[in-house]
């Protein structure tokens, strides 16, 4: 009945790498943000799965905190994307490349 913990692990790895894939291949700032959320949630999957594995609640509570942090991060992120749009008329992260080398 209980799902083997390593399946959760593989799932979380897949979610994490999907998020990373999105970051590496998409240039839309909002998609970048969503991809980061995916990666954070991959960590949450792990935390809950291991909470179950060890029978202690640390992981579950931490997962809740991670979600709160993710929300806060999105708030700031949206703010930055807004000013990005106002300054560069685009949300393409590659547009903002005046500083380099």
């Amino acid at each position: 009945m209980a799902v083997d913990t390593s399946y959760y692990l593989i799932l979380s790895a897949a979610v994490f790498c999907t998020g990373l894939f999105g970051i590496l291949t998409r240039r839309n700032a909002l998609l970048f943000l969503m991809s980061v959320e995916l990666m954070l949630n991959a960590a949450n999957i792990n935390l809950v799965a291991f909470s179950q594995y060890y029978g202690n609640l640390t992981g579950q509570v931490f997962a809740l905190f991670t979600m709160a942090l993710a929300a806060a991060e999105v708030a700031v992120g949206i703010g930055i994307i807004l000013v990005l749009y106002r300054n560069f008329e685009d949300v393409d992260v590659a547009e903002a490349a005046t500083m380099r080398w």
Binding site: A13, A14, F16
Partner: protein
């Protein structure tokens, strides 16, 4: 005109190979991880049961283990009066319920039952409430909770500062909040004492 989402392939996907490589590494490591059976949480139904010797209805002693702890139980045989003395950890709440398994009208088995649900326990841990109701192990998160409190303040302040639109020193649409009776900000139109030029900080 199709509006269906389409898979766009091309060279821009090339960096994604790094993500694939990372997945391969992770998969190899995780598949090889020697994970056994999970301990899990036995909520409300049965944490652990322990059959007690039920021949003598009163004054019989047995032990019950729950959540890795062992409790001494004095079983007096009468209904709902499991006289429990918890030896090891008075802080952990466990209920004991007698059940007649053999159908002889006599209770012969004691189930130890977690008195609190996981959700309740999460609450206790989150605020580090020092309660004997707590039944699942874990670390306390009071400090983290308070830090998160400040994180939220900071994040919101930051987000609002950034998201407000100022034109000529006036807040044009501050997330729908606009103060009309006083002029927010200081002098109008003066931006950036940062030495940057109009078209960006780089030039």
């Amino acid at each position: 005109m199709t509006t269906r989402p389409e898979l766009r392939l091309g060279g821009h996907l090339a960096p994604g190979i790094i993500a694939v490589a990372l997945f391969v590494i992770m998969a190899v490591v995780f598949v090889g991880a020697p994970l056994g059976d999970p301990v899990g949480f036995d909520d409300a139904t049965a944490i652990q049961n322990e059959t007690l010797q039920s021949e003598s209805p009163t004054g019989d002693y047995g032990s019950v283990s729950a959540n890795g702890q062992t409790y001494a139980v004095a079983y007096n045989g009468s209904e709902e009066t499991a006289n429990v003395s918890v030896a090891n950890d008075p802080g952990v709440g466990v209920d004991f319920r007698e059940v007649d398994t053999t159908g002889d009208g006599q209770s012969d088995t004691v189930y130890a039952i977690s008195r609190t649900s996981i959700t309740e326990n999460i609450g206790y841990l989150m605020f580090a409430v020092d309660s004997d109701q707590r039944s699942a192990p874990g670390e306390t998160f009071l400090v983290a909770f308070e830090i998160i409190d400040m994180v939220l303040v900071g994040a919101l302040v930051g987000a609002v500062v950034l998201a407000r639109r100022d034109e000529g020193g006036e807040v044009v649409a501050a997330l729908g909040l606009r103060d009309s009776d006083e002029s927010p900000g200081t002098s109008a139109g003066q931006v950036a004492a940062d030495g940057g030029t109009e078209d960006g900080g780089d030039n």
